[in-house]
């Protein structure tokens, strides 16, 4: 993985996965978004923080979308999550470990 602190969703196989990924790319301009497809799951990663909005997902799907529906597609995620009805963020808060390494 090219990023230092990879965060982002792991999407299970579904018809809508491509639209979600396209929406994530749209919503994170200037971010390098890495997509690793392992068949049954696709790992989408950005460095430190990634977000996606309901508006972008609806634009790519061409129909209405409720943010809760992302819950049925996301088998896991890297980092922490913050979820509202309009947007989801995956992030690391970047506390430094007490470890000296």
């Amino acid at each position: 993985m090219a990023t230092g602190k990879p965060v982002g969703p792991v999407l299970r196989m579904s018809d809508d996965a491509d639209a979600i990924i396209a929406a994530i790319v749209d919503d994170n301009p200037g971010q390098e978004v890495t997509v690793v497809d392992r068949g049954a799951y696709t790992r989408v990663s950005g460095d430190g923080e990634l977000r996606v909005t309901r508006a972008s997902i609806e634009r790519h799907l061409g129909r209405g979308f409720e943010m809760r529906q992302l819950g049925g597609m996301m088998s896991a995620f890297a980092g922490r999550i913050e979820m509202t009805s309009e947007a989801v963020r995956w992030l690391l808060k970047g506390q430094e470990s007490r470890e000296t390494a």
Binding site: V10, Y41, A76, E96
Partner: protein, 597 residues
């Protein structure tokens, strides 16, 4: 209908709580269940889950998930997809169903304990959804397996395994009781949702789905990845609890993560490791077990730990080194003791598969190849009795897995050996230093005897391999055998291995033999992969004792040699002509046997 946005009302609704006036707070939230410890009561007011879901949203989403999983199943039921699946792959599913279905049920109670004793209303609310999730997981796992019962009685173990005394079931119960049922709910939240469900279940439920789909088991891939979407949500109970705990008691937080991570890693080396690197057909493997563990656990979970300001566990190097060996030892042990499992382990060591293993694990051939070569020779020479056990591996008092499997043969740093401990006059044995240390810290809550202790205590009668299998609940129709009828060994035909069989009937004598008292020992033979139970007599000479230990290993897993045997006790060589009674070998002690140089 326009609805008020969730953000405008949900936090208020879920924080509704009441002040107790008829009963004491301590009576409602007793310390031993709620686990407040050093955390002040008002600290819980800031508990805030990051993955917000309302009940109506929950119901709508779960309905969609269930519809998706069951409609795929309904379609596939009409097809011949299942009949075309690889036998090795089917064993992955059988192992999963038996090992997981009723652990999901146990998790219902863990969630309900948090829903009752959690110290914040927001947390209790989320745990209710968690309990509903785990109910779904239990039901879907039992239901999907039940449909296959007509095709193969081993699927019956989806429902049966966890209620039996089969050794892996005992190991799973010990670990999961320690994670879900014994601790207070603060510890449960850090152990189960934070450590286990964000660290490990991803490997079994998401990573394994990649192998499942590639192997053509669409139904299974769909089921497990659907289950994990629930885990991704309810596992978020861990973070907010952990944040509060770290603020007030960071040592406790670090310790419960460390011990849970280790116990989970030990269990996954038998559950997931062999499934990915041996049972999944070679062309279908997306990555090796080590690579999946690096992706999901070593990478993703450790980033998370650091983000919370925690350290990697103290045994980190040992865990990472174990990714090269543990599951290979476990696979070899499971295959050798195959009648003791409810699935058919695929040997998975044809020449092509060995090339793959060698490529992924550069020391595999050196460490495990010689043992497989002895087994292959026996299979091809029709000496099947030498490929089947006549005694049991010695089991770890913490993880209940065979001693030796936290190391490997020809491994300088982590060799095959027992880490013993005498406490209150009793001998305990451990597979590793971390298991011994965790046991020491938690010893007041750990009272599960191992199968070996139950056998020596006379609870298993008759004390023979057949008696043990029956006691474990393994009826002859479900006992494991090689998934492909040993076909993989045929490609080696022509190679021969000399065999030198020794036959012993009982694993442990039910009564003292006339000429001596039984001395059960934890015996290790040089270059073998595990230590095992061998019952000596105190009247045996040390030479006779050496032969009894060799009989369980030489010609079975270690090639015979034209050399004498020596017995070592605490590092010194014992004279061969003295008796066991005179030698200092003690019941439940460690005995090392090897070749005289």
């Amino acid at each position: 209908m326009a609805r008020m946005a969730r953000e405008k009302w949900h936090d208020i609704a879920r924080d509704v709580d009441w002040d107790l006036s008829y009963v004491d707070y301590e009576a409602v939230f007793p310390e031993w269940m709620s686990g407040q410890g050093k955390i002040p009561r008002d600290a819980w007011a800031r508990w805030d889950e990051p993955y917000k879901v309302t009940y109506p949203e929950y119901v709508a989403t779960q309905r969609e998930k269930e519809t998706g999983a069951y409609s795929v199943k309904a379609v596939l039921q009409k097809s011949r997809v299942f009949d075309q699946l690889d036998e090795g792959w089917k064993s992955v599913a059988k192992e999963h169903f038996g090992a997981v279905a009723l652990v999901e049920d146990l998790a219902v109670y863990a969630e309900l304990r948090m829903a009752r004793f959690g110290l914040s209303p927001a947390w209790r609310n989320m745990a209710v959804l968690g309990a509903l999730d785990e109910t779904r997981h239990t039901q879907i796992s039992l239901y999907f397996a039940h449909e296959l019962l007509g095709k193969d009685p081993q699927y019956d173990w989806a429902h049966k395994a966890f209620r039996t005394n089969q050794w892996a079931a005992i190991a799973a119960r010990a670990t999961f009781d320690g994670m879900m049922m014994n601790p207070n709910v603060v510890d449960v939240a850090v152990q189960l949702p934070f450590t286990f469900e964000t660290g490990f279940t991803n490997v079994q439920f998401v990573a394994l789905a990649a192998d499942a789909l590639e192997s053509g088991d669409i139904n299974f891939a769909n089921m497990i990845s659907s289950i994990q979407t629930d885990e991704a949500r309810h596992s978020q109970q861990g973070g907010p609890t952990l944040e509060i705990l770290i603020e007030h008691d960071p040592r406790r937080a670090q310790w419960i993560i460390d011990k849970t991570f280790w116990a989970s890693a030990r269990l996954f080396s038998v559950l997931t490791g062999p499934a990915m690197d041996y049972y999944t057909p070679l062309p279908m493997r997306k990555q090796s077990y080590k690579e999946f563990m690096q992706e999901w656990v070593a990478g993703q979970f450790v980033d998370q730990l650091r983000d919370y300001g925690l350290k990697k566990p103290w045994y980190w190097d040992e865990f990472m080194a174990g990714l090269d060996t543990w599951h290979h030892s476990m696979h070899l042990g499971v295959w050798y003791w195959r009648p003791t499992v409810w699935w058919n382990p695929q040997g998975g060591v044809s020449p092509e598969e060995r090339d793959w293993l060698h490529d992924k694990y550069p020391r595999w051939e050196e460490q495990f190849g010689p043992i497989w070569d002895v087994i292959i020779g026996n299979v091809n020479n029709g000496r099947m009795e030498l490929t089947l056990p006549q005694t049991m591996p010695w089991l770890c008092n913490l993880c209940h897995l065979p001693i030796g499997t936290a190391g490997s043969p020809r491994n300088e740093k982590y060799p095959v050996r027992s880490y013993p401990l005498t406490y209150n006059g009793r001998a305990y044995h451990f597979c590793s230093r971390p298991c011994r240390q965790i046991w020491w810290e938690d010893r007041d809550t750990l009272h599960d005897p191992t199968v070996i202790e139950r056998l020596l205590g006379g609870q298993i009668q008759p004390p023979t391999v057949e008696g043990i299998l029956t006691w474990m609940g393994l009826t002859p129709d479900v006992r494991g055998d090689d998934a492909y009828g040993y076909q993989w060994a045929r490609s080696y035909e022509g190679s021969t291995t000399k065999t030198r069989p020794f036959v012993t009937e009982a694993v442990a004598p039910s009564q003292p033999a006339a000429d001596g008292l039984p001395v059960p020992v934890n015996a290790m033979f040089a270059d073998d992969l595990i230590t095992q139970l061998v019952v000596l007599l105190d009247s045996d000479t040390v030479d006779e004792a050496a032969r009894k230990v060799a009989a369980q290993v030489v010609g079975r897993r270690v090639p015979p040699r034209e050399a004498g045997l020596v017995v070592r006790l605490d590092g010194r060589v014992l004279p061969g002509d003295i008796t066991v009674a005179e030698s200092g070998i003690s019941p439940m002690g460690v005995v090392n046997v090897g070749w005289a140089e």
